[in-house]
């Protein structure tokens, strides 16, 4: 199957695609959030009167909520405005709306906030002294705690030839969507509507409805084009405020974050400390303990799920007889933690794959062969007791090793080569539905996701439909409908779109094919051979022996109603873990097992510590590549983003809970100059759940990047770097140059 032109490309090139930031309505007001000036404090008073004194300004605070939410609505689980304590800096304590954006900002500045400062936990280092290196915490504020173990750990560690223990640190990274969060809301009677830049229109509807206490049936979420998301736009953020301001003012209200606000209020990933201990007998890891201590700010949306999911990756894709994994989500006075592409798995992979290389070096073993001796293959059992499905990591590692050997033949002095493996589990367990609408001239997929830029919706879900019906690539069109009109879908996250919504669309295509067969008088068994094809006067059904125009097969009612509509649904089944191994909190089974092995070549300045990635290869277990151009582009973007996590990106938080670098000057994304020549290869033959055996590729490409680069630095200079990002100063310190 070859790639097709992206249907959204002309719109975006012409500037005709309306993003959240482009949304506008006649008579709309601009909203602004009133930020808490400190990270932790008791509220004495919040006086909105000075804001309300400005012409045309509407201001709302905690006291106004009862009058704005529907009568009898249950209390909100997510606090809209705090009434007693602020728990992070810039937390919205009130909101205002005004005829201009400048006036809204001025009104926000005029709100008088009187707070009694309380002690600030600015970093997990404030809390870590209470967390002994090798044991359980004695005390400390937790957002979540998970714990699992299996096998004879005491025996493994007691009889080990070597216990190899390391501690890693990672910094916070922000998703940095170029388009900040933005939405436009209005309220008409009891019908609440919000247009917004979101990855999950239905998830947003659920979040907003529960926050505001309105029935989902009275709320419509209409997604705009999305200017980048990377996890940042997976749950509601501004929508409840915009809707409440719209309700209070009786006007449409636009709310959009400035970029410094995006950095401070967006839900980004926060720092961590990771401890790994391996018990080795001979050349084999016989026991492993891992601990993830994660700064989760004021709260951790999804709590156990988010923590257990990330911590589950920390054991690595290896069969080890005795394992223990523990995760602590610490509470600090930072904004709530949020998911960043493959949430926290690049960081966990950096730790476990660096550890694996360091251990191989200690044992005098080739790092790839060391991995391959215990890497999962289909039928292996994970540390949590799940049986591994088709999984191509071993094949990817073998290929990576061959590439590295070839590179090493011409390796200049000062350069190093590193390999890391990684894996991902697609979120295909979350369900979705798609509807096909066949008109005499076009075939549409009507659905409720939004294209976030990767092509997974506008191309990814179409390929299975095209293949099923024999249509040329690029002929099926994708319609983006609001939550009142689209069939339900969970949204774009977890690399699930192609695997889950793509399957729903493919099933709809199979049902459409059967229906067309029936209408042509063919028995069910024969309809599988039927195809659709563009003809001179619209679409035709090709029955092999003859053709019939689609126009003749539609009823008058269908023609009047926009076409023949057929639905398909996919509600996935996950594997199961062995719950007896879970001691506290929850861990989650993986769905499709998706593997990747990356090879990095770096040049390190051994005195200054600067690292340049000069060459890179990414080998991906893709199940089956259904759209080569889109697949390759996804890998390239993921690697570029991973280079940022590895070398550059870092939110710098002060002890007072202030974000010190909320700008693109001091928060450094990689530019093209930092992204090297990139080789991309796909491994097929380990099928996933998606159409034609496709696996999701949205998140896998970022997973091994920091680890591969760290291992290349280790190869170049011979000393490990235990902290992300590996800035030149950190590398110079690891080299003991200062």
């Amino acid at each position: 199957m070859s790639g097709a032109r992206r249907a959204d490309a002309p719109l975006k090139l012409r500037g005709a695609a309306a993003y959240g930031t482009d949304l506008a309505a006649e008579g709309m007001l601009w909203g602004a959030l009133v930020p808490s000036p400190i990270a932790h404090g008791r509220i004495r008073s919040i006086d909105l009167a000075p804001a309300r004194a400005l012409p045309g300004v509407v201001a709302i605070g905690a006291d106004d909520l009862a009058g704005l939410r529907p009568k009898g609505a249950p209390p909100s689980e997510t606090p809209i405005f705090p009434s007693e304590e602020v728990v992070y800096r810039a937390q919205p304590v009130a909101a205002v709306a005004a005829p201009t954006r400048a006036l809204a900002r001025e009104a926000a500045r005029r709100v008088r906030i009187d707070l009694e400062p309380l002690e600030v936990w600015g970093s997990i280092d404030d809390l870590l002294p209470e967390w002994p290196e090798d044991g359980a915490p004695r005390t400390g504020p937790l957002n979540a705690h998970v714990h699992a173990r299996h096998g004879d750990l005491e025996g493994a560690f007691g009889s080990a030839d070597l216990v190899f223990a390391e501690t890693y640190r990672t910094s916070g990274v922000h998703q940095v969507p170029l388009e900040p969060h933005a939405c436009l809301a209005w309220v008409d009677g009891d019908r609440w509507t919000v247009e917004t830049s979101t990855q999950t229109p239905f998830g947003c509807r659920e979040d907003v409805a529960s926050t505001l206490g309105i029935p989902e049936s009275q709320l419509v979420v209409n997604g705009s084009w999305v200017g980048g998301a990377f996890g940042a736009k997976g749950s509601a953020l501004l929508e409840p405020y915009a809707l409440l301001l719209a309700k209070a003012s009786g006007r449409p209200v636009k709310l959009q974050l400035s970029y410094p606000e995006e950095f401070q209020l967006g839900r980004s990933t926060l720092p961590s400390v990771i401890r790994i201990e391996s018990a080795v007998r001979g050349r084999t890891v016989v026991g492993r303990r891992v601990r993830l201590v994660l700064d989760t700010g004021a709260s951790l949306p999804g709590r156990d799920f988010t923590l257990g999911y990330s911590a589950g990756f920390l054991l690595g894709p290896y069969s080890i007889p005795a394992v223990e994994v523990e995760g602590y989500a610490l509470r600090t006075h930072k904004p709530p933690f949020g998911p960043h592409r493959a949430p926290f798995v690049p960081q966990c992979t950096f730790a476990i794959e660096s550890h694996t290389d360091h251990l191989a070096r200690r044992l005098g073993l080739d790092p790839v062969e060391f991995r391959r001796a215990s890497v999962w293959t289909e039928g292996s059992t994970t540390g949590l007791g799940q049986t591994v499905g088709p999984f191509g990591l071993d094949a990817a590692l073998a290929r990576a090793s061959a590439i590295a050997r070839a590179w090493r033949e011409h390796l200049p002095p000062g350069h190093g080569i590193g390999i890391a493996g990684g894996f991902w589990s697609t979120g295909t367990g979350a369900g979705g539905e798609a509807r096909l609408r066949l008109t005499p001239t076009e075939l549409w997929i009507e659905q409720g996701e939004r294209e976030i830029g990767s092509g997974s919706v506008i191309r990814g879900i179409a390929v299975g439909v095209e293949a099923t019906l024999g249509l040329p690539p690029g002929t099926v069109r994708v319609a983006f409908l609001d939550t009142a009109h689209a069939p339900f879908d969970s949204g774009v996250f977890g690399s699930r779109t192609v695997g889950a919504l793509g399957q729903a669309a493919e099933k709809a295509a199979e049902a459409l094919r059967a229906e067309l067969g029936r209408r042509c008088g063919r028995p069910e068994a024969e309809s599988a051979k039927l195809t659709l094809r563009p003809g001179p006067d619209g679409l035709e059904v090709d029955l092999g022996d003859r053709r019939r125009p689609v126009r003749e097969l539609l009823t008058a009612a269908e023609l009047a109603d926009g076409g023949l509509k057929v639905e398909g649904r996919h509600y996935g089944r996950s594997g199961t873990i062995d719950e007896r191994r879970v001691l506290e909190g929850s861990f989650h089974p993986f769905n499709d097992f998706v593997g990747a092995a990356h090879v990095a070549e770096v040049a390190v300045d051994p005195e200054i510590g600067s690292v340049e990635v000069v060459r890179y290869a990414a080998i991906h277990d893709a199940g089956r590549v259904v759209d080569p151009v889109t697949a390759r582009a996804g890998i390239e973007g993921g690697v570029a983003m991973g280079i940022g996590t590895a070398l550059l990106e870092e939110t710098q938080w002060g002890p007072d809970g202030r974000l010190e670098n909320p700008s693109l000057l001091d928060y450094r994304l990689p530019t093209l100059a930092e992204v090297p020549r990139l080789e991309v290869e796909f491994i097929e033959g380990f099928p996933g759940a998606g159409p034609r055996g496709a696996k999701g590729l949205g998140e896998p490409p970022i997973v091994p990047v920091p680890a591969a680069i760290a291992n290349a630095v280790f190869d170049a200079v011979g000393v490990p770097v235990f902290e992300l990002p590996m800035t030149s100063e950190r590398v110079a310190r690891a080299l003991k140059r200062l």
């Binding site: 400048a102 005195e607 200054i608 600067s610 340049e612 550059l648 710098q652 010190e660 670098n661 700008s663 000057l665 001091d666 450094r668 990689p670 530019t671 093209l672 100059a673 930092e674 800035t727 030149s728 100063e729 110079a732 310190r733 140059r737 200062l738």
Partner: protein
């Protein structure tokens, strides 16, 4: 962005007269605007008037004997791609290439960079090592001042009311090098910039260091204490002194300790590179 009035005088006299009359704190001078517009967009300043130098004939350069005189609104790319400038002032070209992107350098100007006097400027250390001077015009006429006395503080050059930088003069071609260190190689702010030049006229070395707040520092030729053809220990000693002379400044980009380490390493490399240039041309 707030609204402002754009003033585009057609002559030097008109520009000076307008600027001298402009109410204090309400006017800003616009050359390339690549730095100024950030300040305006991020509300650090809210000027009511912008004086654009676009129409003044200051966007060209001339050779005056061995000296290069650069009009202050000359876009950096014009110097960057001139073969003779590349040959005669190699360090200057390296420093220009360190500024932003090609697109930005096609707007950014040498005079604007001096006028902003940023502590992290990649150009100022090199101008200091070349003993560059600025020609300044104002209500009281024309004066010439060394760049060292002009760039006294970030965003606040030593300019009087109504004064503008008309040109920058580089007195002689010198073997010179500029080396920088940043977190991100492309389009980032240098946390250390080291410029080294050797003067054929007096046989002395010049060393200047930027990126370290509060301003770029010129190390006095005597303090550099490098003989015309320094041995390896002499270079090492000079690099150590340069590192010790600097204030230790820690910020979000780097610790003072690391900056000192980098200054030491880069001075050593830059002196080595200039020595190689001299040997290559000898």
């Amino acid at each position: 962005m707030g609204s402002f009035e754009l003033v585009t005088p057609a002559s030097e006299e008109e520009a000076i007269a307008w600027l001298a009359r402009a109410p204090g704190g309400e006017a800003a001078v616009l050359a390339g605007g690549t730095d100024l517009l950030n300040d305006i967009e991020e509300h650090r300043i809210t000027p009511r008037h912008l004086l654009s130098l676009r129409r003044l004939p200051w966007n060209r350069w001339n050779w005056i004997g061995p000296a290069l005189e650069v009009g202050s609104t000359t876009p950096l790319v014009d110097l960057e791609y001139d073969p003779k400038v590349r040959a005669q002032f190699p360090g200057l070209v390296t420093a220009i290439e360190a500024v932003g992107s090609v697109a930005l350098r096609s707007r950014a100007t040498l005079g604007g960079n001096l006028g902003r006097s940023g502590s992290a400027s990649d150009l100022i250390p090199l101008l200091l090592a070349l003993d560059a001077s600025a020609e300044i015009v104002g209500p009281k006429g024309v004066r010439t001042t060394p760049v060292d006395t002009l760039v006294v503080a970030s965003r606040r050059p030593a300019l009087g009311a109504g004064e503008l930088i008309r040109s920058v003069r580089l007195p002689e071609p010198r073997p010179s090098a500029y080396l920088w260190q940043r977190i991100r190689p492309a389009q980032d702010v240098s946390h250390v910039g080291v410029a080294v030049a050797w003067s054929p006229a007096d046989g002395r070395w010049r060393i200047a260091v930027g990126g370290v707040p509060p301003r770029a520092i010129r190390i006095h030729p005597e303090a550099a204490e490098l003989p015309p053809r320094p041995s390896s220990p002499e270079r090492e000693a000079a690099a150590r002194r340069a590192a010790e002379l600097l204030p230790l400044s820690t910020d979000l980009r780097a610790t003072g300790e690391y900056r000192r380490h980098v200054v030491h390493a880069l001075v050593l490399r830059a002196v080595g590179s200039v020595t190689a240039m001299r040997e290559g041309s000898a």
